[in-house]
């Protein structure tokens, strides 16, 4: 499957923290860490766990820019 989302960055899962319905997944994308908030179902279905390879996917319209 190829998807329209402009941002697809490969990395390694550092940590999966499950809540009641929502999990937080932290992914190392080469020195920088990205945090994702997804459903517990998705974590189970994709078999996400620390040490696994993953692709961080973000739609361009969800990315903001800041300057110091």
């Amino acid at each position: 499957m190829r998807i329209s989302a402009r941002n697809q960055i490969k990395g390694t899962i550092l940590e999966v923290t499950k809540g009641a319905t929502t999990s937080h997944v932290r992914v190392d994308i080469g020195g920088q860490v990205v945090t994702s908030s997804i459903t517990n179902e998705a974590v189970d279905e994709l078999g996400l766990k620390a040490g696994g390879q993953a692709i961080v996917v973000i739609k361009a319209s969800d990315v903001m820019i800041a300057v110091d």
Copy 2:
């Protein structure tokens, strides 16, 4: 200003493409490139242009995870 968004990644602006109301800004975050879709107003107000330093900001609930 400090913000709740979990993802704040420093980088260098590669390109700013302006449309009628919406601009696309591409930022190099250390070998990987992130594309952002923001208003033309924001581009002007922040003075964004190629070569400038920028911080990519993404709310955790907007980040998806994929596996091959």
Copy 3:
């Protein structure tokens, strides 16, 4: 690629309308029509055009519920 987004619905593209930087893509998902707003780049890269098969992908946290 398998993705965490809970909503992945197959359909047929009805129409692609390109703007200056942003395109609107309308997809028939079996009688109902879904409208998507994505970058022109994504349209070109995926070769989206009327009559083509497509999968509509939506993160669960972006779905609201209404009642009459």
Copy 4:
């Protein structure tokens, strides 16, 4: 109330799963199922429960397109 969101699809609620602060609501929209992640408060206020009629509402800028 009429809203700008381009996607408003009628369906029947299949399941409501409450978490600590966030609920997941699954809606059958005619053979296809859409999952929504909303606050527990919204579930209570709208009286959402399995078997009820509901409208799935999604902003066009939150819809991605994928191809096989």
Copy 5:
């Protein structure tokens, strides 16, 4: 129609700026101004124009918090 979105704030439209596919609508919500980016179609369908009454609708998961 009642919707799950936690934020529904009444105001008066100050300005509608149309782009090629995307419009920007500025709404005064009592001294503060909110900017919305929606499709041109939605602007036409709802008949949005300066001086009109409108309700700004935002899903709670799209709201960030910052501190100085």
Copy 6:
């Protein structure tokens, strides 16, 4: 830090409700109340609590418009 998000509204925190991984923060922005759903981590890191000053930040592409 200055950010591209078009909507940055000052207010006072009314309530912070923590869930398993996700918190709800309610902010009074001058008579109107905005609800935000963010990670528990963000609440802790920013030291958010009732009575504190805060800025509500919303990207324009996440704002919808409704009419009665």
